[in-house]
Each structure stands twice: as structure tokens, then as C-alpha cells.
């Protein structure tokens, strides 16, 4: 199995999307769903190949003298690839309802960029070296830029400018120098078990600076102060926020950091030299501070955005703790959080389409009008908080175990505190919707989201529960990571 | 005697240069430039460069003066009655000149027969002593110009050709009237798209 195949469906579908265009919308969306299923099947094949211990890799394309583009599958990447391809299908189903219900403009451009972004995510997931990952990372930024500015009004262009500026500045101004530094020091950019910097002879100070360049340079991981783009980008249509800002874009960021820690620095190097000593507090601060900010937001999407920032920093923190358990927890949290958060975003979008409400304060009593949506919202919230019967619990447990293993209990405190805050800012939303009477009398009967959207919401909420019950396939997969 | 002539002529050159800087009348400037070339040509004779002297007198003094006068018949004769002596320009020029003078300090003296330029075995010496056999011309300058460095001369011809078509494209073949009578839209004016279209349709 060649991982290059994963690029084929999303790229191949683009001509079809353009060809069908606005005239044959059903055909257009059907072609995307077929491509999505094909992609899922390919990823599944790669998954079974990796589980069976086969080597999955592509040929290489040399773009600079000593560095080349190359794809190969390793456990974390397979997991990320599976996740993104599965959620692409679900999101497409959801967007059919949303985009038509909302009468959005330029739907064809939207779907084209979306497919392009998915192809880039696949390239990032299966990147065999840092250069390939960087290329894919930049491509994701560029291909999602038209999605953020989709509406074309002043607000969205402003958001788009901020988006591009922060992500590009971070990646070119900080991340690229770090990469060149690594290339100069280690002579290679390949991802290798145990890292490539162990023998490079860098001092602790150098390593600390390098690590900081990486963590802050990967702006998609939204560690403060590089987080500003994320809430701003919420002007995008909800399916974009859902897939790209709960899964593809932000998860590429943390995924990059996880890969860097595992395969470039090596967890032993980070934990023994203490290179992360100065970066960890900033990340922990981000966890707490963004939870607190989320608390103050009345706009539902904004609250979810800040919650995302906080959850991303969990993963970064897990990576920086640099123990096997915490890194696994971080990787697992990519999936767990993705399902929880995408459910929440879907619900927010559904509420916007059906009730035209954006603020939490207006949601009192809405449980009666949208019971299914609100129930799913509840499950998603549990997933984020990490309470049974939803999936987030496993990853949080692993991260907590990891911080114990690293011998510094203070990070557990951070986790606990933010979990409490999670409860405080997420749970009241469904509770108010179900139990608080509405301010104004409401029309009787349900006014649920469009059927395709509702299906999508139900699927992701179910997945949250299923992953709680059956986390083994993922655990087994992550067990295959070579640490040294 | 030679020394005396050189010194006198050099002094003339300096005086003319000062005159050009100071005078505002363009016609006087052009005439002085012609004179400058002529005196330079005389100096070239003193320095044994007779061919160059001929050319300088004919081209530098003759043709270019005619060109200047021709151009001036279409434009103005006066520079604006204002001095624009810029400090920046003076500083730049003085620095450049100082650098040049610094460079000459350890140069072979004027007329030194042992300077690298005179003793290069494959250039000067070759030209002077082998060219009669190789080209059969007594005038070494001609033989170098036409044979050894004939390619430069070819380049020179191309330069003249380029200048010719450049002037042709800028001014056209249409006869120009002096400034007072020039019509509003003089021929050869900047072509506009409309003009182009009309030409194509006609």
C-alpha cells in the first residue's frame, strides 16, 4: 500500500466538483461522499497494514539537494488520517444540510478548497520527514484561507488577514528557522524513532530555544500568544469551523508538535535535558487562561473556540511532558477531542440554521424545540470534559498518568482545574436549554436541524460513546509507536 | 616643448570645464564642449595617438556638436536662471575624485616605458613587433582594430546601428518644425490606443 493513494480521492474529486458545479448539486455532493468513503477505505487498508507490521511508504521526490518529499505511515499518522477521512464524510453530509439551509454563496469554491485541504491533511498525516510535514502544513494554511474569508464581507476578510498573517508569520518566522537549524545541526530532517537531535550536541539553552521556536512557530497549535487567529476564524461557515477548526487545521498543529517531540527531539532528550522547562508554564497558562476566557463568552461559537484552544494546549502539554504515556495520551486526545468538539460545533451550526440564535443566553428552553441536538450537545460536552460515558476520559487519564510519570504533580493540578472549568462553561448550556423556561413563549413542536445535518450530529455523538466503550483499536495502534 | 604644449592645453581644458559649469547659456556650453573635444584631440596628437585624434576631432567635436545643435533647435537655449549646486553631488564627486587620485599614487608615471601596459608580451609587444608579418599593415592601430580586436569593432558597428534605429523610433522620419510652430499633437507624439486603432482601420 502506497500512502500516496490517500491523496488521490480528494484531489481527483475536485474536477468533478467544478464540473458539476451549482447546476447539479446532488451529483456534486454525491461525488464528494464517494471520494470520502474511498479515502476512508484506503486509510483503513493502511491501518490494517500497519497493525500487521507491514512497511507502508512511498517513493521520494528530492526537492532540495539533501532533502526530499516522502510519505510513510506510522501509528500516529494512521490515526490522524483515519480520523480526518472519517470526519470528512460526516462533515460533507452535515454541510449539505447546512449550506443549503443557509443559502451560502460560492458553494463550489467551498467544496473545492475543502477537498484540497483534506488532501493536504493526508500529506501531513503521512509525512515521512519534517520538510514534507512543513510543506503540507503551509499548504493547509493556504487552502483553508479561502474558507475563512468565504463570506467576502469586511469582517471575514479581516479575519482572513489575521489568520494568514499569524499562521504564516509563525511558520515562516519561527518554525522554518527551527527546521533549518535542525537540518544544519542533525544533517537530516527524517522522522526517526528516538529522534535525530540526540547526537547533534546542542546545549540545553539551544534546545530550549529550538523547542520554543517549534511550539510557538506551529501557530496552528494555538498556544498563547499565537492563538488569536482561532476565535477570529470562527466567522467561517460552521462546517468549516467544525472540520477545519476542530479537526484538520488545529489538529495538524498539535500533531506536528507530537511528531516533533517523538521523532525529531526524542522524548528522552526532552525529558533528560529539561528543554521544555520554560515552555511548559506558558502552555499550562494557556490551558487555564483560555478556559477562563471561554467562561466569559456568550457567543456559542466563540466559547467553543476558546475551549478548543484550551484542549489543544492539553495535547501540547502532553507532548512536552515527554513520557510514553503522556505522548500516547496526547495522540489519543486528538481523536477524542475531535469527536467531542465536532459534535458541539455541529450542534451550534444546527441551532444557528434552525433557530437563528448565536448566543448562549438565548438558548433557555430550547431543549424542547431541538431535543436531539441538545442531547447530542450534552454527550459532546461530556466528551470534552472527560466524564463517562464519553470518550474524553481515556485520553485525560493517560495524560494525567504521564504527568505523574514525569514526576511533577503540578501539571495534574492544571488538568484538574481546567476540567472543573470545562464543567462550568460547557454543561450549563444543555442544562439551561432543557430545564430553564424560555424567556418568550415559543412555538410548539420540534424545529430540528435539516435531516442530513441531524444524521451527522447523531453519528459523531454516537462515536463519542463508542470510543468510550471500545478504545482498544486505537490503543493498540498507538502501542506500536517506536520510542527509541 | 612637448611638455609646455601639454601644460598649456591641459590648462585650457580646465578653464573650459569651469566655463561649462558656470555658464547658463546652452549654446555656449555646446560650443565649449566642441572646443574641449578639439583641444583633447590636440593632446592626443601630442601623445602619439593620431588616429584617435582624427576621430575625436571628427566625431567628438564635429558630429556631436551638430547633434547638440540639432537637438537645441527643437528645444530651449537657456538653462533656468538658477544655480542648483547640490551638496550631495559635490560630496559624491569629491569622494570619487579622491578615490581616483588615491589610486594613481603608485601608478607607473606618465610615459613610463616599463609600465605593465607597455611590457605585456602578448598584447603590446605582440602588436608592435608581430603585426607586420601577421597582417601586413604598417599602422598598428589599424591592424589591431581590424584584426586582433575586430570583434570589438563589430560591436561598435552594432552600437551605431542601435543608436540609429533608436533615433529613428524616437523621432520618426517626419520633418520637425521649430518649437514655435509645433502643432498641438505633433507627429511622433506618444501613440495612444485610439491612434493605433485608426491606423489599423485605415
Amino acid at each position: 500500500m502506497n500512502p500516496l493513494w490517500t491523496l488521490v480521492p480528494p484531489l481527483l474529486v475536485i474536477p468533478f466538483i467544478i464540473f458539476f458545479g451549482e447546476r447539479h448539486r446532488n451529483l456534486r455532493e454525491a461525488s464528494i461522499i464517494i471520494a470520502g468513503l474511498a479515502l476512508l477505505a484506503i486509510n483503513d487498508r493502511i491501518y490494517s497494514a500497519v497493525i500487521n507490521g507491514e512497511v507502508v511508504e512511498s517513493g521520494s521526490l528530492s526537492i532540495l539537494a539533501n532533502f526530499s518529499l516522502r510519505l510513510s505511515a506510522e501509528p500516529m499518522g494512521v490515526m490522524f488520517g483515519l480520523l480526518a477521512s472519517f470526519l470528512w464524510v460526516v462533515t460533507t453530509v452535515y454541510s449539505i444540510g447546512y449550506m443549503r439551509g443557509h443559502n451560502e454563496q460560492n458553494q463550489t469554491r467551498f467544496y473545492v478548497c475543502f477537498a484540497l485541504a483534506i488532501a493536504c491533511v493526508m500529506a501531513a498525516a503521512y509525512a515521512d520527514n519534517l520538510l514534507t510535514l512543513f510543506v503540507a502544513y503551509e499548504a493547509i494554511t493556504l487552502s483553508t484561507f479561502p474558507l475563512v474569508t468565504h463570506a467576502g464581507n469586511d469582517a471575514s476578510r479581516k479575519a482572513g488577514r489575521l489568520y494568514l498573517l499569524l499562521l504564516m508569520c509563525g511558520s515562516i518566522g519561527l518554525f522554518l528557522p527551527a527546521i533549518i537549524w535542525i537540518a544544519t545541526a542533525a544533517g537530516t530532517l527524517d522522522f526517526r524513532a528516538g529522534g535525530i537531535l540526540a547526537d547533534a550536541g546542542l546545549s540545553k539553552t539551544s534546545l530550549t530555544i529550538l523547542l520554543a521556536l517549534c511550539v510557538f512557530g506551529v501557530g496552528k497549535a494555538a498556544v498563547m500568544p499565537m492563538h488569536r487567529w482561532l476565535p477570529a476564524a470562527m466567522v467561517a461557515p460552521t462546517p468549516v469551523s467544525a472540520l477545519l477548526h476542530a479537526v484538520a487545521v488545529v489538529k495538524t498543529g498539535v500533531f506536528t508538535i507530537l511528531k516533533l517531540i517523538t521523532y525529531t527531539f526524542g522524548i528522552d532528550l526532552v525529558s533528560t535535558t529539561g528543554a521544555s522547562d520554560y515552555v511548559l508554564p506558558v502552555v499550562a497558562f494557556t490551558v487555564i487562561a483560555s478556559s477562563l476566557i471561554a467562561f466569559t463568552k456568550d457567543n456559542l461559537k466563540a466559547r467553543l473556540a476558546y475551549s478548543t484552544i484550551s484542549q489543544l494546549s492539553y495535547i501540547v502539554m502532553a507532548a512536552l511532558l515527554a513520557t510514553t504515556m503522556s505522548v500516547m495520551g496526547g495522540a489519543l486526545h486528538i481523536v477524542m477531542h475531535a469527536f467531542g468538539k465536532i459534535t458541539l460545533f455541529f450542534c451550534a451550526g444546527a441551532i444557528m440554521v434552525s433557530l437563528h440564535k448565536k448566543n448562549i443566553s438565548e438558548l433557555d428552553g430550547m431543549g424542547k424545540r431541538m431535543p436531539i441536538t441538545m442531547a447530542c450537545f450534552f454527550i459532546g460536552a461530556l466528551g470534552i470534559i472527560g466524564l463517562p460515558p464519553a470518550s474524553g476520559m481515556w485520553s485525560k487519564l493517560l495524560i494525567a498518568g504521564g504527568s505523574l510519570e514525569s514526576g511533577n504533580a503540578i501539571w495534574i493540578g492544571v488538568l484538574m482545574l481546567s476540567t472543573l472549568l470545562n464543567i462550568a462553561y460547557l454543561l450549563p448550556i444543555p442544562l439551561r436549554a432543557f430545564f430553564k423556561p424560555a424567556a418568550q413563549p415559543q412555538p410548539e413542536g420540534w424545529s430540528e436541524a435539516p435531516v442530513p445535518s441531524l444524521w451527522a450530529i447523531a453519528v459523531t455523538a454516537t462515536c463519542c460513546v463508542l470510543l468510550f466503550l471500545f478504545p482498544h483499536p486505537l490503543m493498540n495502534l498507538l502501542g506500536l509507536i517506536e520510542w527509541r | 616643448m612637448e611638455l609646455l604644449i601639454t601644460i598649456v592645453l591641459l590648462t585650457f581644458l580646465v578653464a573650459i570645464a569651469i566655463g561649462i559649469i558656470v555658464l547658463r547659456d546652452l549654446l555656449a556650453g555646446v560650443i565649449l564642449l566642441g572646443l574641449y573635444s578639439l583641444i583633447a584631440a590636440a593632446l592626443f596628437v601630442v601623445m602619439d595617438a593620431v588616429d584617435v585624434a582624427f576621430t575625436e576631432a571628427a566625431v567628438g567635436c564635429g558630429i556631436s556638436t551638430i547633434l547638440f545643435l540639432g537637438a537645441m533647435s527643437f528645444t530651449k537655449h537657456d538653462q533656468k536662471p538658477r544655480g542648483h549646486d547640490s551638496i550631495v553631488a559635490i560630496v559624491f564627486v569629491v569622494l570619487t575624485g579622491a578615490l581616483l587620485i588615491y589610486g594613481t599614487l603608485d601608478m607607473p608615471h606618465y610615459g613610463d616605458p616599463q609600465s605593465p601596459a607597455q611590457t605585456h608580451p602578448e598584447l603590446t609587444q605582440h602588436y608592435l613587433y608581430k603585426s607586420p608579418d601577421e597582417t601586413g599593415m604598417p599602422n598598428v592601430v589599424t591592424s589591431v582594430l581590424a584584426s586582433y580586436r575586430g570583434y570589438d569593432t563589430l560591436g561598435e558597428t552594432v552600437v551605431v546601428f542601435t543608436a540609429g534605429i533608436a533615433v529613428l523610433s524616437l523621432l520618426g522620419l517626419i520633418r520637425r518644425r521649430p518649437e514655435e510652430e509645433a502643432p498641438e499633437d505633433a507627429p511622433g507624439d506618444v501613440p495612444t490606443i485610439a491612434a493605433d486603432d485608426s491606423e489599423r482601420t485605415s
Binding site: - | 602619439d48 547638440f68 598584447l123 533615433v167
Partner: protein
């Protein structure tokens, strides 16, 4: 002749700089070209004086003459003179066109006109 040893070069350099100064500092376009003429003629003089050999004669081979001046600079300068005049011709043609379009050949006035156009 030794007085001329380096003094000769210095005078030429001063002349060159006079030409360069006119070229840079004068606003009148024709005056600039006069400056360029002085500048280039002085450079030619520098080259020719490099080729002079004391007591030598013009490099036209003749019996009984043993010392010749260096012919190579002469050849170079023959080319350079023609190139210089070609440049002057193009420049003057440009000046005529500029005068037709702007009705002035003073650089500061042209700049003022152009600045006005840019604001529009």
C-alpha cells in the same frame, strides 16, 4: 617630463569629476549631456595617457623608429568615442521627445509635472 608624472593624471581626474558633477547636479537635460561629454572625453584622455611612452612616436611602423607608444588604448578609445556619440545621439533624441511632451527640459519641472499626474 617628470613633473607630469602623476600631475597629468590628477588634472584628468579633476576634469572627469567636473563632467560628472555637471551630469549629476544640473537639472537641464541638455546640460547633463554636455557634462556626460566632458566626463567621457576625460576618460578617453586617461586611457590615451596610459599608452604614452616617453620619447615614443605614433604606432605606425617605420624604419629607424624603435620606440612606439602603446597602440592598444588607442584602439579601445576609437571604439569608446563612437559608443559615446551613439549614446549622446539617443539621449538627445529622447530630450527632443521629452520637450515635445512636457514642454520643458528642466528636470525639476518635469518632476513637478509627474508628481501632479500621480496625484490624479
Amino acid at each position: 617630463m617628470s613633473i607630469l608624472g602623476l600631475y597629468n593624471y590628477w588634472i584628468v581626474i579633476i576634469l572627469m569629476m567636473a563632467g560628472l558633477y555637471i551630469l549629476i547636479a544640473r537639472y537641464n537635460l541638455i546640460k547633463k549631456m554636455i557634462g556626460l561629454g566632458v566626463f567621457q572625453t576625460s576618460i578617453f584622455y586617461l586611457y590615451i595617457s596610459l599608452g604614452k611612452v616617453q620619447g615614443g612616436s605614433a604606432p605606425i611602423l617605420a624604419d629607424g623608429v624603435t620606440v612606439y607608444s602603446n597602440p592598444l588604448p588607442h584602439v579601445l578609445i576609437l571604439t569608446a568615442i563612437v559608443v559615446g556619440v551613439a549614446t549622446t545621439a539617443v539621449a538627445l533624441a529622447l530630450i527632443v521627445r521629452i520637450y515635445e511632451s512636457y514642454n520643458t527640459i528642466e528636470e525639476d519641472e518635469i518632476k513637478a509635472i509627474e508628481a501632479l499626474e500621480r496625484d490624479l
